[in-house]
């Protein structure tokens, strides 16, 4: 059969952001495929070298649009390690609250996003509507809906507004009450089961070969490989939560894991709101005007668990007022580039969008 060259994306309802898959197909089977990134390349890493440490807080959230808060967290942690700043206790708990709300928003987007490539748009609308509730909470806490710039060097920018706890609890109660509806809509849906069960496999050896992390890794290795458990940051060692694991990673398992993790996020949020102490939320740490801060020399890497896996920054300081180098490790880099080249061929064209969705690909963090 004749091979046909085909581009999936960047304009495609199932495509995740501004990148494209360049594929050669025979019939509807993909024979060769490559990711074409670069459409979103804005030179973040270079720009950061020309801006001061504090200025950079304004641009880092833009590296991953659906879940911007891990960027702020790893950048702040790196500087805190280099400058040896002790973060106040309350700030740790507020950071956890923000990170979990962001993870919930990102999971909702990805979970409902499975409706796009499968034609079940209801899921997408529901999830977007629920995500909007989180954005409203963010607006009240940080002043911004999408990019919060809230986790800063030394703690968080401001204390939580009065009465927000009640609103957060009301939101998570409401969402938890409706999670069974989501299960009925997506996970018990015969169409979705037929499309995803035993499809788009991710074996454990592929995970180790590529360096896949996050849900993909946990669903195929059967171990709780979650950085929140393996190397806890903030105060994740003080709260109780379970990490779903499995030894069989098909698309269905990975979608189901997002739903299971949403329950755990709600569990963490409830504990955080109870256990959060009163007190200061920000330690100044460095001397002088924030725009003239000089961070001591050093090279450090911090990674945290984002909704898609290990997300980290490698920061180098030469003692100046600008970072000497900041390198971003996007969680979807391995599966988005090498994964598409090696393991997407053999699938059908209509599986490509689902492959992208269940692997958790976010193209801005590949481009950065």
């Amino acid at each position: 059969m004749k091979q046909v060259k085909l581009f999936l994306g960047p304009q495609h309802p199932g495509m995740h952001g501004n990148s494209s898959i360049h594929m050669y197909v025979e019939g509807d089977i993909i024979k060769r495929s490559y990711l074409l990134p670069g459409m979103l390349h804005r030179g973040f890493e270079k720009t950061m070298e020309n801006r001061t440490w504090m200025n950079n807080i304004g641009i880092i959230p833009r590296i991953c649009v659906p879940e911007p808060d891990p960027n702020e967290m790893v950048f702040a942690s790196n500087v805190e390690t280099l400058a040896n700043i002790e973060v106040p206790e309350r700030a740790h708990w507020i950071r956890m609250l923000i990170l979990e709300l962001a993870r919930l928003a990102a999971h909702l987007m990805a979970f409902g996003g499975c409706g796009g490539p499968t034609g079940l748009y209801t899921a997408m609308y529901w999830a977007q509507a629920d995500r909007d509730g989180i954005l409203t909470l963010f607006e009240e806490i940080t002043g911004q809906r999408i990019y919060h710039m809230y986790i800063v060097i030394g703690g968080v920018r401001k204390d939580l507004p009065k009465g927000i706890e009640k609103k957060i609890l009301a939101y998570v109660d409401d969402l938890e009450r409706r999670l069974p509806d989501y299960e009925d809509l997506l996970l018990n849906n015969p169409t979705i089961i037929a499309r995803t069960k035993d499809q788009i496999m991710l074996p454990a050896e592929v995970v180790w070969e590529l360096g896949v992390t996050g849900i993909g890794m946990r669903s195929s290795t059967g171990k709780a490989y979650d950085i929140r458990k393996v190397a806890p940051y903030a105060r994740y060692d003080k709260v109780e939560f379970d990490v779903p694991t499995a030894n069989y990673s098909d698309a269905y398992t990975r979608i189901r894991f997002k739903w299971l993790e949403m329950h755990q996020i709600i569990r963490i949020i409830r504990q955080v709101l109870v256990m959060m102490p009163e007190g200061k939320v920000r330690e100044k740490g460095l001397d002088g005007n924030a725009l003239r801060w000089q961070v001591p020399k050093g090279q450090v890497y911090t990674a945290i668990e984002s909704s898609r896996g290990e997300f980290g920054y490698y920061t180098v300081s030469d003692g100046g007022i600008n970072p000497y180098r900041v390198a971003v490790r996007g969680a979807s880099f391995p599966q988005g580039l090498l994964g598409v080249e090696r393991y997407l061929p053999g699938h059908r064209i209509d599986d490509a969008a689902l492959w992208f969705d269940t692997m958790g690909i976010c193209s801005p963090e590949i481009d950065r």
Partner: protein, 171 residues
């Protein structure tokens, strides 16, 4: 440094002539090794449990005339992290690929080649362009690349005339 990271750094020091060991934080240390020994060190620590290469990145130390390649490794069972670093000459930036040890590094090498101009022998893919289409200058993440000058050269300042749009001013 906790006991896991201490034992691995001691094991590496006993076997190889490590240039320097820098503790970074409780669960992280940096090992500076000679370029010739890097592959052996990576194979050794991989066998000790550092099964994941999180990232390969590069730092341009223009004052020293060197590029520093940084391999970030993670041990998922013990939760400890290693930075294995080496320095290569900036004028002839050539190194050997590590795809035979960590296959997932392929696109990171391509990324470093594109943004720093370091060539990785043995990884043919790394010589192709990935992010920057039709790039026509020195690799952009080098310290001697000036983004402002490039932008001014590439996109000259446009001149706007007052009578640019006659229809639009309502007369």
């Amino acid at each position: 440094m906790n006991k896991h990271i201490e034992s691995i750094t001691q094991a590496v020091q006993a076997k190889f002539s490590v240039v320097a060991v820098t503790p970074v934080r409780d669960d992280q240390a940096a090992l500076d090794v000679k370029p010739g020994e890097l592959h052996a060190v990576l194979s050794f620590v991989k066998a000790q449990g550092f099964r994941q290469l999180s990232m390969l990145t590069c730092v341009d130390w223009i004052q020293d005339g060197e590029f520093q390649l940084v391999y970030l490794l993670f041990d998922w069972d013990k939760g400890v992290r290693l930075q294995v670093r080496t320095r290569i000459d900036r004028k002839h930036p050539t190194f050997t690929t590590v795809t035979n040890i960590y296959p997932g590094v392929q696109y990171y090498e391509r990324d470093v080649h594109e943004f720093f101009g370091v060539e990785f022998e043995g990884n043919e893919m790394s010589f192709k362009q990935l992010f920057l289409e039709n790039w026509d200058d020195i690799p952009p993440m080098r310290k001697d690349f000036n983004s402002k000058a490039y932008s001014d050269k590439k996109f000259p300042v446009r001149e706007y005339h007052k009578d640019f749009s006659k229809e639009g001013d309502g007369k």
